[in-house]
């Protein structure tokens, strides 16, 4: 047969690369219930759609050449639920998927192709850090800085899964992603506990250094936490379903959608505004049934940020949650909302603001943690966002938080009948303006509270046309659907200005 030897060699080289790192390591992973890079990609991409880039790539160091299949990263393109996308999947069985020259070039190739062609990009990451000795010396670290790996322009969605020990470059790729999911047991950190121990003499548990609790509850770097590799990949596919392929494409609208249950809002939201409740249940009732995907659900819980669909249209929902801190927004909540506004604005998702808040959380701790700056970052993101915005006040919204939650600076503003709106809660105003406390003089307090509460109703906002509608809570879903139709078209066909695309990756 012509080409016989040539083709035999090609087949042998392909087989060696497909075998990845050591059989022992592959077996250990299998036993631990952890998927390898190729199994992960098989779950991510539609069957038969994977087009690999760099199967036969290997280390630039001659002595490593036969031992570095694909140089520790499986890269390429495929279809996710029919949509073309790129992916870089770490092969931890090959030198811990450590960062090295060819390894970096492969990832850069896929990333550049996605940016140029408007394809979503997925990282399935694990990374032992920089490969030694490759990264040592002046030229080693110098090479690491070549290429555009740190540029983040939000031109097409980047989604990352943290699926094991992820240090250095692998961690930075996740930070630069638009959405991050983490499997429990994984670690995301600048460096491992071994480096930490040597560098500063601090012994740390890897989970304390960069585990799921730290990143889902304290840093907010992780948007969702799951138990298995398969769940992480399913989460990525679901999150991607709310986003367009790239910033210049309109957000997909599903023709078929399940109904919401806005009638339930009268029972889900207590009429007495001092009573707390979980606004996530109200959001679930307003949106299409089963369509809500919470983003950073465990972080800064006084704020809720979520993808959802309303009559098939994907939207970003920003809400305050009275269940946590009374719905008073603290510095972390400001960061959470600002980063979500940036995400939605970059990918043309309309924003719906649902305010039920006593205001920003004042006090020593908040001021120390830079609350005024955080409020203004949040406001800057809101003001620069060009996607359709709808602001709705549910029961109450006071002070600067009223403005930050989009009221008066959105395409349209509305309030539930019964909503209270003012500079501050009337009860606080009585204390501050008249120095009268309820416990000292109940009768005078009540008189003054009535006086101060004058002019704080939804109708007082509607009369000067600062609220464009006062609605029955049961009308919420239909109201939002109709106003999303009115305000979503734009002269650009629903493509925003993307003035937030260069916003910092993490802040």
């Amino acid at each position: 047969m012509p080409y016989e030897k040539t083709l035999e060699e090609l087949a042998a080289r392909r087989a060696a690369a497909l075998a990845m790192g050591s059989p022992k390591r592959l077996a250990e992973r299998r036993e631990a219930g952890i998927l390898n890079a190729r199994e992960r990609l098989a779950l991510l991409f539609d069957p038969g759609s994977f087009e690999e880039a760099g199967l036969l790539a290997q280390s630039v160091r001659p002595e490593m050449a036969g031992r570095t299949p694909a140089d520790g990263v499986v890269s390429g393109f495929g279809r996710i639920d029919g949509r073309l996308a790129g992916a870089n999947a770490a092969d931890f069985t090959t030198y811990g998927s450590s960062s090295a020259e060819t390894h970096g070039k492969k990832q850069g190739f896929v990333r550049a192709a996605c940016e140029k062609n408007g394809l979503p990009l997925v990282y399935l990451n694990e990374c032992a850090g920089g490969r030694i000795p490759d990264i040592m010396g002046a030229a080693g670290i110098g090479r690491a800085g070549e290429g555009g790996r740190y540029t983040r322009r939000r031109s097409s969605p980047v989604l990352a899964a943290v699926l094991g020990l992820t240090y250095g470059g692998g961690a930075f790729a996740c930070i630069n992603a638009d959405l991050v999911v983490m499997r429990k047991g994984s670690v995301l950190a600048v460096s491992s506990q071994m480096t930490t121990s040597v560098a500063i003499g601090e012994e740390a548990d890897p989970q304390d250094l960069g585990g799921w609790r730290l990143h889902s509850e304290t840093t907010g770097f992780v948007d969702a936490v799951v138990d298995t590799d398969a769940e992480a990949i399913a989460w990525i596919k679901r999150a991607l379903s709310y986003l367009p392929d790239h910033a210049n494409a309109a957000t997909p609208v599903q023709a078929d959608h399940a109904d919401g249950d806005a009638a339930a809002l009268l029972d889900l939201v207590p009429e007495t505004r001092a009573k707390t409740y979980d606004i996530r249940k109200a959001i679930a009732a307003i949106a299409d049934a089963g369509s809500v995907l919470a983003i950073k659900d465990r972080f800064a819980k006084a704020a809720v940020t979520a993808f959802a669909r309303i009559k098939g249209r994907a939207v970003g929902i920003v809400a305050t949650n009275p269940m946590f801190k009374g719905g008073a927004l603290d510095p972390d909540a400001c960061d959470k909302i600002a980063s979500f506004i940036v995400l939605c604005d970059s990918f043309n998702l309309p924003l719906v603001f649902l305010a039920d808040t006593p205001g920003f959380l004042v006090g020593l701790e908040s001021e120390r943690r830079r609350l005024p700056g955080k409020i203004m970052n949040f406001m800057a993101a809101l003001e620069l966002a060009s996607v359709p915005k709808i602001a709705l006040v549910l029961r109450k919204s006071f002070g600067q938080a009223y403005l930050n939650m989009g009221a008066g600076r959105s395409d349209t503003t509305a309030a539930w009948a019964g909503a209270e709106i003012s500079f501050m809660d009337p009860a606080v105003a009585v204390n501050i303006v008249y120095a009268v406390k309820r416990e000292d003089d109940p009768a005078r307090f009540e008189d003054l509270a009535k006086e101060v509460a004058k002019g704080t109703s939804a109708y007082d906002l509607a009369a000067p046309f600062m609220a464009h509608a006062v609605i029955d809570p049961r009308e919420t879903r239909d109201y939002l659907a109709r106003h999303l139709d009115i305000f979503s078209r734009r002269l650009t066909g629903a493509i925003g200005d993307h003035r937030l695309a260069d916003w910092p990756p993490a802040f």
Binding site: P322, K325, G326, G363, E365, D425
Partner: protein, 73 residues
Amino acid sequence: MKRTTIASEITGKVWKIEAAAGSKLAEDDPIVILESMKMEIPVSAPIDCTVVEILVAEGDTVAEGQAVAVIEG
């Protein structure tokens, strides 16, 4: 059975104590209710548990992160 200290997530005043040492609580049952930002903010059981000790009294001021109860569960 593991003992856990339950902390307040917000600075405020203890308005009502809803449980006592020995109370058996289900997840999300309130232990104490704080008043802060003119809201009634429950500090709730994170899991099904038994209350070992309540560390605050009605009218006390508590700071963010301050322990308000010890539970076992």
